[in-house]
């Protein structure tokens, strides 16, 4: 099973100090009040995903947010998943509906 995370904030089980420090080093931030982790630096994002996946014991993917309609969607819906070098990573994208479903004029208006 795949675990879908939201880059704005996600929870992890209680961690040993060493693992917690390692995650912060890799670029995560921790909000003590909300108990949520979020991504601060994307420089080591692949390593972050790998480490979080090991902690959760499963494959981890991030939800995508469409820059045009603002809706969340998964990379599995995208037809370019095979050639995408940043699949499952929490970067800006355009959802398949917005990309194909609009006329040029409509797409221009959204810019």
């Amino acid at each position: 099973m795949t675990i879908v995370l939201n880059s704005r904030g996600f929870k992890l089980p209680r961690l040993e100090k060493e693992k917690f420090v390692n995650l912060l080093h890799l670029g995560l931030d921790y909000d003590r009040n909300a108990g949520l982790f979020s991504i601060k630096s994307y420089n080591n994002i692949e390593k972050v995903i790998e480490t979080v996946g090991v902690i959760l014991g499963d494959e981890v993917v991030f939800q995508q947010t469409c820059i045009k309609c603002g809706k969340s969607f998964g990379c599995k819906e995208c037809s370019y998943i095979e050639v995408c070098t940043t699949k499952f990573l929490p970067f800006s994208c355009v959802c398949p509906k917005c990309l194909r479903g609009q006329s040029f004029e409509e797409s221009l208006a959204k810019f």
């Binding site: 991504i39 994307y42 370019y80 995408c84 940043t86 994208c93 355009v94 398949p96 990309l99 797409s107």
Partner: protein, 413 residues
């Protein structure tokens, strides 16, 4: 001023605002946070990532929005310690002179060192150390950009910089941008064609826009068929295929296009063309003409060296002319490849090594250089040994029996 219609689309549609820079929103946010925060934990920032993803564009758009004056040094400038100090030191120490003129006040200076991973060689000696010193002393933001931050030379710089990584721009984002440009340029484009351009660009927005312009500017339309040529852009066209395309080309334009898409080694290709020309042109006059063009191409190749790549189109043109001396006379033939010269060097390597060893021994005994031993001693020693293989001369030079045998049997070298 250059007319808008004559501009490259890359320049025409270069984002003026930060929000218009396509993709890498997270990197943009991190960079802006650093720039806005006056108490930097790191004194400089290093933007890194593949080409065409918006590093330079982001810096320029930010400068425009924050009203900064950008003092830029890129790979085309010599970036030795002296040059960097001459340009960058004043820029990082003083307020912009614009503030004292009648013009609107600027937000101050920003030092931007583009392509810092290209600082290398003798011309740029001391460059990295000079940058480090400037970063330490600078009163203004220092921004650097690089494609490959992992090179050894940049290690000290990375320690003092906030690192901001840029990723390849995603295909849907590039398609959306191309759609926008198509609307503004009144280009009627098939979605699949834009899709192909975006996929072919491998996340490089600049190359995607350039491809769109080159394919659609003339007819204001773009079909999937038009983009077929692009599919070969990132594939390695082998030497055989390039030669086949070269010799069977029907026009100079065909060959130029083929050469610009091929990734063969230009020196090897030039040698292969010269080897195969006599098989291609059986008529002596045509062959002479073709060789004339190849010799011109060779001159341009020499002038290009390792840095004057702007001359590449002249190299391509000269070669293309050689391929199109008489397109109608083309008949398929078997190509000679790899180049004869390279094969000869390969075949004679053993012999050359043996001769080198002999010359070393002569040089050591007679106190002469390697070259003099080869040119002035070897012919006579050879004659002596041919007449009397057991001459005491061989023992004096400490030649091995194999070396004596080699000298006796060697032809003209």
């Amino acid at each position: 001023m250059q007319k808008q219609s004559n501009l490259l689309w890359v320049e025409k549609y270069r984002p003026k605002k930060i929000e218009d820079v396509t993709g890498n929103d997270e990197a943009k946010a991190l960079f802006l946070e650093w720039l806005k925060n006056k108490k930097h934990t790191r004194k400089a920032v290093l933007l890194y990532g593949p080409p065409g993803v918006g590093k330079t564009t982001l810096v320029m758009a930010t400068a425009r929005e924050f009203n900064f004056s950008v003092i830029e040094m890129n790979a085309s400038d010599t970036r030795s310690e002296k040059a960097i100090n001459a340009v960058a030191k004043p820029a990082t120490s003083y307020t912009s002179l614009d503030n004292f003129s009648g013009a609107a006040k600027t937000g101050g200076n920003v030092l931007f060192l583009d392509e810092v991973d290209g600082i290398a060689g003798n011309e740029d000696r001391g460059g990295v150390n000079a940058i480090l010193k400037i970063v330490e002393e600078s009163l203004v933001p220092v921004i650097m950009a690089a494609n490959d931050p992992d090179i050894e030379k940049l290690r000290p710089l990375k320690k003092v910089c906030l690192l901001v990584r840029f990723h390849q721009v995603r295909i849907p984002l590039i398609i959306a941008l191309l759609q926008k440009i198509c609307v503004l340029e009144h280009v009627k484009a098939e979605f699949e064609a834009l899709e192909r351009i975006a996929q072919n660009s491998r996340g490089d927005v600049r190359s995607a826009i350039n491809d769109l312009q080159s394919l659609s500017e003339e007819n204001h339309s773009l079909t999937l068929q038009d983009t077929m040529m692009l599919s070969s852009r990132n594939k390695d066209i082998s030497m055989d295929d390039t030669l086949r395309g070269f010799f069977s080309a029907q026009s100079i334009a065909d060959t130029s296009r083929l050469l610009s898409y091929s990734s063969v080694d230009y020196d090897d290709f030039l040698l292969s063309v010269a080897d195969n020309l006599p098989k291609r042109y059986l008529d002596a006059t045509e062959l002479a003409k073709a060789f004339d063009h190849v010799s011109k191409a060779d001159v341009f190749r020499g002038r290009i060296g390792t840095e004057n790549w702007h001359l590449l189109k002249y190299f391509f043109n000269a070669l293309a002319e050689a391929s199109a001396v008489n397109p109608a006379s083309y008949k398929p033939f078997t190509f000679i490849t790899p180049p004869i010269r390279i094969m000869t060097l390969f075949w004679t390597k053993g012999k050359r090594t043996m001769l080198d060893a002999i010359c070393d021994k002569i040089g050591a005994q007679c106190h002469v250089s390697h070259q003099i031993a080869r040119e002035q001693y070897v012919p006579y020693i050879r004659l002596i040994l041919q007449k009397k293989p057991k001459s005491p001369l061989a023992a004096w030079f400490k030649f091995t029996p194999e070396e004596v045998d080699f000298l006796v049997k060697m032809g003209r070298f």
